[in-house]
């Protein structure tokens, strides 16, 4: 274990050379160096740039903001399947690390971290002076308990386990013995059996909220113990949720100049129909729209709202589930059927019809040019005639595919575009639209359906969450030993260029197996009434609600 208080991490220096040579985008460079423990200022320094000053001086203290957002039932953070839940819980349950649009990882409940040269030892320095809102100090024990909790695969729906699979013992389903080591009250060391470059990124993701000792999801609203500046006042599923400032708590962020400017944050549920959001905005009932989609970007601009947009690797996957059984057979287990689906659909058409062209065409690989180790693997050619031949070869030409989507704007339209193209190619397709309230109950189980996926900073992350065998979010039912082995190999290679060789093979498997349709990368948008600051769309939909304020 080496300390890097003085000199930058050797891999970070390599990244800096990559970035200057144009191999690494600025965002990726920031993501990868700060994940190694290099401070943001130092990271900008490696590129010969000054870190941008953070806005904040021009806000007024106090005030209320009203945000249009679906209000969902709160539950154990590890089982969060929807970032909207965290906009409520982030009031009192905070994160160790924060991921920003410029790709940086900023320390929050951690003060700093160090990663050794081959990414097998992480030293986490817990922030001093943080207390829970009942007055007890926040220590390394709390962090260790949470990390151990993330590694507990026996908890139903725990998606954090996928992010921390590097330190999980597959036999016990718990963290490996000795993997989480508490050095002193404010220092923790993670010892990994094999290198993993994504742990810090995993800690910044929305299910990684830090919960107190004895946390009980059933009473988390009545007894909101946490470290954050707000408390929940009301949470009515489907209707409204309100956060109010916790006046009796000395939040660490006040001293650190983090903000929490607002006294009150209201989330109001207007359903999933964006035209209802426009009505709410026109009626001056909301100040911020959680996310604006498709044609509604223009509409909100036209009613005088301010736009915040960020190009991301957020996307939609229209995937057949290979394990799904229909009438005693598994229609999508046959590779030819999946390839036929991929060949029959033109991604550019999906982008145009489904998302008003606001994004980039993708190649069904769920890794893209915004990722550091993306390899330029060609997509399956668009060939509807060959698609029908393949389908007939597989003896599935008469099979009626039931293509399911949620009832909303862009996801429904994209899925419609897919269904239309499949029909044009001669497939027998039925479309089912399920209301938002029930769609997510079975989202991983539908035989053939569409799901939106959020941006993740590093190329191997989404592949690990969504396509590794047996993962909680593996909605395509994909299980491929070669893929899993290659993914483990890629996760151990910090250097992007070396990793690209493995990524190339992984992307080829994704294409060849026709695992999913992933037609485009989305630019994501948020709108707000003029007069508010700090509400910008986060590239990964993370709830940085303490940054929001009313302009002075």
């Amino acid at each position: 274990m080496t300390k890097h208080d003085q000199s930058p991490h050797p891999i970070a220096l390599q990244y800096a050379r990559d970035a200057k040579a144009g191999k690494l985008s600025r965002r990726e460079f920031m993501a990868r160096t700060t994940a190694l423990g290099v401070s943001v200022t130092a990271a900008y320094g490696l590129l010969g740039l000054a870190a941008p000053a953070r806005a904040g001086a021009h806000m007024q203290q106090g005030g209320t903001v009203r945000m249009q957002m679906e209000v969902r039932a709160v539950k154990d953070p590890r089982a969060f399947d929807w970032p909207q839940i965290t906009y409520v819980t982030a009031g009192w349950l905070e994160y160790l690390v924060e991921y920003n649009n410029d790709g940086t990882f900023l320390p929050m409940l951690l003060e700093s971290w160090d990663v050794n040269d081959n990414a097998t030892v992480y030293v986490l320095n817990v922030r001093q002076g943080v207390t829970w809102n009942d007055g007890t100090p926040f220590t390394a024990q709390d962090v260790a308990r949470n990390i151990a909790g993330w590694c507990d695969t026996t908890v139903e729906g725990n998606s954090m386990a996928a992010r921390f699979s590097a330190i999980i013992d597959t036999e016990t389903g718990q963290a490996l013995d000795g993997a989480i080591e508490v050095i002193d009250d404010h220092t923790i060391q993670l010892n990994l059996p094999a290198p993993d470059i994504t742990l810090i990124a995993g800690m910044s993701d929305y299910p990684a909220a830090i919960t107190p000792a004895g946390f009980n999801p059933d009473t988390m609203l009545e007894n909101p113990l946490g470290t954050g500046p707000y408390l929940p006042e009301t949470v009515e599923v489907g209707i409204k949720a309100t956060l109010v400032r916790n006046e009796n708590h000395d939040w660490w962020g006040y001293a650190a100049g983090k903000g929490a400017y607002l006294d009150r944050i209201e989330y109001i549920d207007y359903g999933t129909d964006p035209s209802a959001w426009v009505a709410a905005a026109a009626a001056d009932e909301v100040d911020i729209i959680y996310e604006t989609v498709g044609d509604f970007v223009e509409i909100f601009n036209s009613i005088g709202f301010e736009e915040s947009s960020v190009a991301s690797s957020s996307t939609i996957c229209i995937r057949p589930n290979q394990r799904a059984e229909i009438d005693g057979m598994r229609p999508y287990a046959d590779k030819r059927v999946r390839q036929a689906i991929a060949m029959a659909v033109d991604s550019a058409v999906c982008l145009e019809l489904g998302y008003a062209g606001r994004g980039e065409v993708a190649r069904n690989q769920h890794v893209g040019p915004m990722h550091p180790a993306w390899a330029d693997v060609p997509a399956m050619p668009h060939d509807p005639a060959r698609a029908l031949e393949l389908l007939q070869e597989a003896g599935m030409a008469d099979f009626e595919m039931d293509l399911i989507s949620i009832d909303d704007d862009w996801r429904k339209n994209t899925t419609d575009a897919v269904a239309a193209q499949l029909r044009d190619a001669g497939f027998n397709v039925k479309r089912t639209v399920i209301p938002g309230a029930t769609f997510w109950n079975d989202w991983t189980e539908y035989p053939f359906s569409s799901t939106d996926w959020n941006h993740r900073p590093i190329d191997t992350q989404t592949l690990g969450l969504a396509y590794r065998s047996g993962e909680a979010w593996n909605e395509s039912g994909f299980s491929n030993a070669e893929f899993d082995a290659l993914l483990a190999e890629a996760n151990a290679i910090p250097d992007a260029d070396s990793r690209r060789v493995v990524m190339q093979r992984l992307q080829e498997i994704m294409t060849d197996e026709g695992v999913t349709l992933q037609p485009y990368w989305r630019t994501i948008y948020r709108h707000a009434k003029p007069g508010f600051v700090g509400w910008d769309m986060n590239i990964a939909y993370l709830p940085h609600i303490y940054k929001i304020g009313i302009a002075a």
């Binding site: 139903e156 599923v237 207007y270 009505a279 709410a280 009932e285 309230a437 029930t438």
Partner: protein, 348 residues
């Protein structure tokens, strides 16, 4: 009179029983139960796990038994689960099974638990019904006087220009369903498209703080539909009264026309509209479902939509009971009120 009311109450109970049994049967069809199990348990549940869950939680008992338990005439189940844990219908929130009541159905005042909203179904229905009550109150306040005035004005002079124009308006308004008029109102008065953005196209804020601006459009949408119908009935009744002998006599005596309308004609002309107004309540419940969803006003109608689309069994049953009660009570009031308005009717 008393026996009449008792008889009507008996019919009400019988109707409620039949309706809830139908709803109960539909929500307990196996695919619906499977959906419920996956919502409550794990998204990736296998078919065996679904069966175990349903069995452990009493969903696989015979339908009449389950219905009896929900009703509270049969003791709530106590099932030893396959995981060794004992579960009882009446022991909720970590209560000890030995302490739990034997019966816990609707008769014991236990409305059950809403799986969508994660709350007690009874309290959800009470809150949401209160909000719809507020909407209804303003609808009635706008609709009833409006309809009566239009009807009386039209019926005073049958065939006059006033009559023809008011009748046209009433027919138009009653021929336009809420989902058409609501959308038109939002487009015209809720957005800047036509330069007439006088009201708000959403009523979400009206749940806490209703004012003219945010509450008028939903109220108007529901009221207009009923208004035309009641106005037509009032008009018909008014024209009939105006041709009666005693009106002619009054005119011959030289009583002023306004006096004839207000003193002599109005009371008799209001008998028929009263019944119609009362019978409008069931239709209003219908309109509320559409209008509340359209304007995002989270009342009873919206709850019904959410409960139905999520197969929330106990909430849906509660909603059904309340609906039956509202419909049959208004009919009872209409029958009793009729006796007072029309001395020719006697209820034995």
């Amino acid at each position: 009179m008393v026996s009449f009311i008792l008889r009507r109450l008996g019919i009400m109970v019988l109707t409620a029983l039949c309706l809830t049994f139908i709803v109960f049967w539909l929500t307990n069809l196996f695919p619906n139960l499977e959906k419920l199990a996956k919502t409550q348990g794990n998204f990736r549940m296998s078919d065996e796990a679904v069966l175990t869950y349903l069995g452990n939680n009493g969903y696989l008992q015979p339908l009449p038994v389950k219905y009896g338990q929900w009703l509270g005439v049969l003791p709530g189940y106590v099932i030893a689960g396959t995981d060794g844990e004992m579960r009882a219908r009446c022991a909720t929130g970590g209560q000890d099974i030995a302490d739990a009541a034997r019966f816990c159905g609707i008769l014991q005042g236990n409305w059950g638990y809403s799986t969508v909203f994660r709350d007690d179904a009874g309290s959800i229905i009470a809150t949401r019904l209160g909000l719809t009550g507020k909407l209804m109150f303003w609808v009635m306040l706008l609709m009833v006087p409006g309809a009566l005035i239009i009807g009386v004005m039209a019926g005073m002079n049958e065939g006059s220009r006033t009559d023809r124009s008011l009748s046209t308006v009433s027919i138009l308004s009653t021929a336009t369903p809420e989902y058409v008029s609501g959308v038109v109102f939002i487009a015209v008065f809720g957005t800047a498209t036509f330069g007439m953005q006088w009201f708000k196209g959403t009523a979400t804020a009206a749940m806490d703080d209703a004012n003219f601006e945010n509450f008028f459009l939903p109220v108007l949408t529901i009221a207009l539909y009923g208004m035309g119908y009641i106005a037509r009935m009032t008009r018909a009744s008014m024209t009939e009264v105006m041709t009666a002998q005693y009106i002619r006599t009054a005119r011959l005596k030289g009583v002023a026309f306004s006096q004839i309308v207000l003193r002599h004609a109005l009371r008799n002309a209001l008998i028929a509209p009263f019944t119609v107004i009362m019978l409008q309540f069931p239709f209003l419940l219908n309109g509320v479902v559409i209008v509340e969803t359209l304007f995002n006003y989270k009342g009873f109608g919206w709850t019904l939509v959410q409960a139905a689309s999520n197969n929330d069994i106990e909430l849906l049953l509660g909603v059904s009971i309340v609906s039956v009660f509202v419909v049959l009570t208004t009919q009872l009031i209409s029958d009793i009120g009729y006796v007072f308005l029309n001395p020719r009717i006697r209820i034995a």
